[in-house]
Symmetry: C2
Subunit: 159 residues, 2 copies
DNA sequence: GGTGAAACTTCTAATAA
DNA sequence: TTATTAGAAGTTTCACC
C-alpha cells in the first residue's frame, strides 16, 4: 500500500476535521488563511485517494447503558477454522472488533456489553461457535483513549 | 450513569449520522419525512445530553504507511504503579488505547506502527517504563471492524 | 496548484401551531 | 413537540491567476 503524501495544509485541515467533522470549511479557510474553495478541493482529493474513508459519530455508550468492555482471546481447535469462526464472530453485534493474531491466541476480540450478565451471554456465544476450543476473558476496568490528533502529528512529522 | 431514552426518530437520525456525519440535515429530514428544524433540535438535544460526544474522521492508516497493529499486555511489578504507568503509556502517541484490566495482564493496550521495526521501538518504550515488569505482544494479522450501525440497532432494540 | 465571486444549498432560530 | 419560514451561513463550481 503506497504512502500518500500530505502537505502541511492537508495536515492542518485533517487536524480540524478530526476534532469535529462538521466544522464549516469557511472556518478552516479563515484559520489557515486560504479560500474555502481550496479546502473543498483538498478534502475531496483526500477522500478520492481514500485517506479519508469516512466520518462517524463518537457516542457515549455508558450513557446508553453499555458500560462494560472486555477483551476475549479465542483458542481454536484448528487454525484452518479461522475464517469460519471469524465470520461467526462478526455476526455478533456486541463484538466491536476482531483480530486474527499471532502469539497466545488465534483470534482476539473486543466486546461491549451492558453489564457482566450480558457479557457472560456474549462470551458463551463465542464459546459456542463451532471450532472454538476455549476463550480467555480480560475485563476492562478503565479505558483511556489516546488522542487521534496526536497520532496524526506523529505520523505527519515522520513524512 | 443513567440510560438515556432515544425514540425511533432519534435512532434513525443517529443511523444516518453514524454512516456520514456530514450528511445534510435536509437529507435526513426528507428521509424521515419530518422537517430539518426538528432534526436540528433533536441532534442538539442528543449533543447536550452527551449521547453524541463528537465526531471524527475515519482515516486509512494503511495508506498513511501505518499498517502494523499489535496488542501489548503489560505486567507490573506492583499494581500500585498502575496510574503512573498508564500516564507514561498515554504519552506515546502510537498507543491508540489502553485499558486497566483484570485477568492475565495489569494493563492492556493497542499500538499502531509503521512496521515491525517501528513496533519494536514502541514495545521497548513500554518495557522501559518504570514499574513495568514485562510485556507480551500479540500481532494482528488481520483486523475486522464490526458495523457501528448494527451495534446501535442492537442497543436500540433492547430499550 | 490557488482565488474570488456567483449560484445554489443548508443551517438555525424565531414564531406559530 | 413539531412545522414553517426567512435571513444568515456554508458549499461548490468555474473563469481566471
Amino acid at each position: 500500500m503506497a504512502k500518500f503524501k500530505l502537505d502541511e495544509i492537508d495536515h492542518q485541515i485533517l487536524d480540524m476535521l478530526i476534532e469535529n467533522t462538521r466544522v464549516p470549511f469557511t472556518d478552516i479557510a479563515k484559520n489557515l488563511s486560504i479560500s474555502a474553495g481550496t479546502i473543498h478541493v483538498r478534502v475531496k482529493k483526500m477522500e478520492d485517494a481514500g485517506i479519508i474513508k469516512g466520518s462517524s459519530l463518537t457516542l457515549d455508550y455508558k450513557k446508553l447503558g453499555y458500560s462494560f468492555i472486555a477483551y476475549v482471546g479465542i483458542f481454536l481447535q484448528n487454525t484452518s477454522q479461522t475464517k469460519f469462526v471469524l465470520e461467526r464472530i462478526n455476526e455478533i453485534p456486541f463484538v466491536t472488533v476482531a483480530h486474527i493474531t499471532t502469539g497466545k491466541f488465534n483470534i482476539f476480540c473486543k466486546i461491549r456489553a451492558k453489564n457482566t450478565e450480558h457479557a457472560k451471554d456474549i462470551i458463551f456465544m463465542l464459546d459456542d461457535i463451532e471450532g472454538v476450543y476455549r476463550t480467555e476473558t480480560m475485563i476492562s476496568l478503565e479505558e483511556s483513549l489516546n488522542d487521534k490528533k496526536r497520532l496524526m502529528h506523529s505520523i505527519f512529522n515522520d513524512m
